[in-house]
Amino acid sequence: MIRSVRPLANASTRIAKRSLATANSDLIAIELPPSSFEGYNLEVPELNFETEKETLLKMYKDMIIIRRMEMAADALYKAKKIRGFCHLSVGQEAIAVGIENAITAEDTVITSYRCHGFAFMRGASVKEVLGELMGKRSGVSYGKGGSMHMFAPGFYGGNGIVGAQVPLGAGLAFSHKYRGQKAAAFTLYGDGASNQGQVFESYNMAKLWNLPCIFACENNKYGMGTAASRSSALVEYHKRGQYIPGLKVNGMDVLATYQASKFAKDWAAQGNGPLVLEYETYRYGGHSMSDPGTTYRTREEVQHMRSRNDPIAGLKATLLDKGIATEDEIKAYDKAARKYVDEQVAAAEADSPPEAKMDILFEDVYVPGSEIPVLRGRISDDSWDFKNKTFLNKVY
């Protein structure tokens, strides 16, 4: 059966009203600039919308906490309290915050290794995130995963293999549909991952089976040290889905990311199948803590983005502009966020790592109760016997 090409999606995808508001709450009118969106076989979301004052304040607080948390991670890494890989999202906060405020607990989110902000937004505390980075037992993955492997309810990581999370996200969407849920799976990947074959395999199945999968490219212009134009024959990532409608979004404006994410969630929930979003964003830091981020781009470029396009500064300007908060109130929020994160850092630092015991090492390889009888240690004596809960201590 040959399916006809889908006609241009029309504005009948109305964005459902979301309300955190109490009866007394103010509704604020937002007018996004036309440069916020660019559609591909898609009518873009409304530039003008209303949202609650509370939502705007919450988004501001979310972003400054993530910013502070990532900066704390930076400091802890330099103090050698965090080991291995650490990929920070400083500058990209508007995406995690915009998405979370647009979705519900039933929706699902999956991303790559640049995942700390998402883990926080989906419910992990700052203490749990930083604790995991420092390898503490109280970390969000009990110290077993590290920076790249954080999980929370409705958040499927934290994935270390570039692009592998994209088919996983299509699978989350498959499960939503299988179960008859009106939920969406936000499946994030970077400009570097966007050329992976498995991404296109996922596009194909999502479109074929009409899965509620929101493919979302966080295009921060660089895949590690490689500029997007050096890796991608087509840098308009919202068009890469070819037969899937696409939407490019100004990822440095949380109001745009919020509106786009609401649109995408409702698109999926109304049974329209997949979308390909591109959140245009920027990371101030390097690819990871091992990368200064200055060998492949100029300091002027980084400075320009920081001073002209910062998501936190942008929302702050809106809050002041619309009279939602005063300069002093915002200073107070900043101070409260800094204090909160400092407390969480101290609490996480004070926590202990997993005990250096081999039986803890062997936990969670298999689901408890279904373990294989023995897991071998470095020598046969160190093998752990799950039935007798002891070491084999083999006697010849």
């Binding site: 492997h149 299509a170 498959f174 074959g197």
Partner: protein, 383 residues
């Protein structure tokens, strides 16, 4: 003409008959804790049997197991190339689309990496996919999803994120399908902590183990064999019931013996069974044949108990020799108390260390067969 016995084998035979006939020796064995070995040597112990046995092909047994699990749990679904409308590339999923519908039985495009990741994602969300690879050769394209996304996730999440998925499909050689379509992956998957790996031989194995694999909350790799699909086995009433589940990790002693242990998995078990008959008929050797059923976990205790009884061991598999299942068994025996009971070094029978050739005259050398197992047994016994 009586077969020529080496002094080692002669000793072994004398010891074996002494154990059977000499009460003083028996008492000593009991005292030294060898009672289990003695009990196993009691040839009068009957194998399980019923008056009249039904027969079934492996294909039908597998089909029945899949249907029962689809019926039992709505979270279970089957996905793979040609599993639905084509009724399965090897007809294993015949009739399942008609019975359960297209929500439960899903045809995929030819995109292994993508659909494997999709199935793993569905499993992370709580569904219980049964993912078919047309052969495990094609699963190499998806091995990152099997190992890094499925097997390791429960551990990396500190026990928060389980992944109940079953990967199944033909593994190892078919007949004349060439090098890219003939590899055995038991050793590769068997080395991964977080996976369970199962390799059935008989129809009963296939039925009981596919149900166990689907119900197991961990990712399970279920290695089938294309030639086995058409083979017929006897099957008990008990095995035909929809409650029949075999435990993962328990090997089966297919034939009890006293003189040498032959250990194998999947189709190679058949050659060991045939070799045991030859060894008995031509050399008077009673071989014990162990069907591993499970690669991970490997039922080392069963092998150890057998070697303590027979003192001789041959492993047999169709996979490449280097770093294989046989290598692992030999290492485990060396590290166990069975080492002291070995009267001869262990010999491995494996696939030949070449990419599988096409011409039958050459392909016949690429994989074990009954004469090769007999040759290895004779070498170990010094016959």
């Amino acid at each position: 003409m009586a077969p020529k016995l080496s002094s080692v084998a002669k000793t072994a035979q004398l010891a074996a008959s002494a154990l059977r006939n000499n009460n003083a020796v028996t008492r000593t064995l009991r005292q030294s804790g060898q009672f289990q070995a003695l009990r196993m040597m009691d040839g009068a112990r009957a194998a399980s049997s019923t008056a009249e046995k039904k027969t079934i092909t492996v294909r039908d047994a597998l089909n029945a197991g899949l249907a029962e699990e689809l019926d039992r749990d709505d979270d279970v679904f089957l996905m793979g190339e040609e599993v639905a409308q084509y009724n399965g590339a090897y007809k294993v999923s015949r009739g399942l689309l008609d019975r359960f519908g297209e929500r439960r039985v899903i045809d995929t495009p030819i995109t292994e990496m993508g659909f494997t990741g999709l199935a793993v994602g569905a499993a992370l969300h709580g569904l219980k996919p049964v993912l078919e690879f047309m052969t495990f050769n094609f699963a190499m394209q998806a091995i990152d999803q099997i190992v890094n996304s499925a097997a390791k996730t429960y551990y990396m999440s500190g026990g928060k994120q389980p992944c109940n998925i079953t990967f199944r499909g033909p593994n190892g050689a078919a007949a004349g399908v060439g090098a890219q379509h003939s590899q055995c992956y038991a050793a590769w998957y068997g080395s991964i902590p977080g996976l369970k790996v199962v390799s059935p031989y008989s129809a009963e194995d296939y039925k009981g183990l596919i149900k166990a694999a689907i119900r197991d909350p961990n990712p399970v790799v279920f290695l089938e064999n294309e030639i086995a699909y058409g083979e017929t086995f006897e099957i008990s009433e008990e095995a035909l019931s929809s409650d029949f589940v075999l435990p993962i990790g328990k090997a089966k002693v297919e034939i009890e013996g006293t003189d040498i242990t032959l250990v194998a998995h999947s189709r190679t078990v058949k050659f060991c069974v045939e070799a045991a008959a030859t060894l008995e008929k031509q050399y008077g050797v009673k071989a014990e044949v162990i069907n591993l059923r499970s690669i991970k976990p490997l039922d080392v205790p069963t092998i150890v108990e057998s070697v303590k009884k027979t003192g001789h061991l041959v492993t047999a598999e169709a996979g490449f020799p280097a770093f294989g299942v046989g290598s692992e068994i030999v290492a485990q025996i060396m590290e166990s108390e069975a080492f002291d009971y070995l009267d001869a070094p262990v010999e491995r029978v494996t696939g030949c260390e070449v990419p599988t050739p096409y011409a039958q005259e050459l392909e016949d050398f690429a994989f074990p067969d009954e004469p090769t197992v007999v040759r290895a047994a004779r070498k170990v016994l010094g016959l």
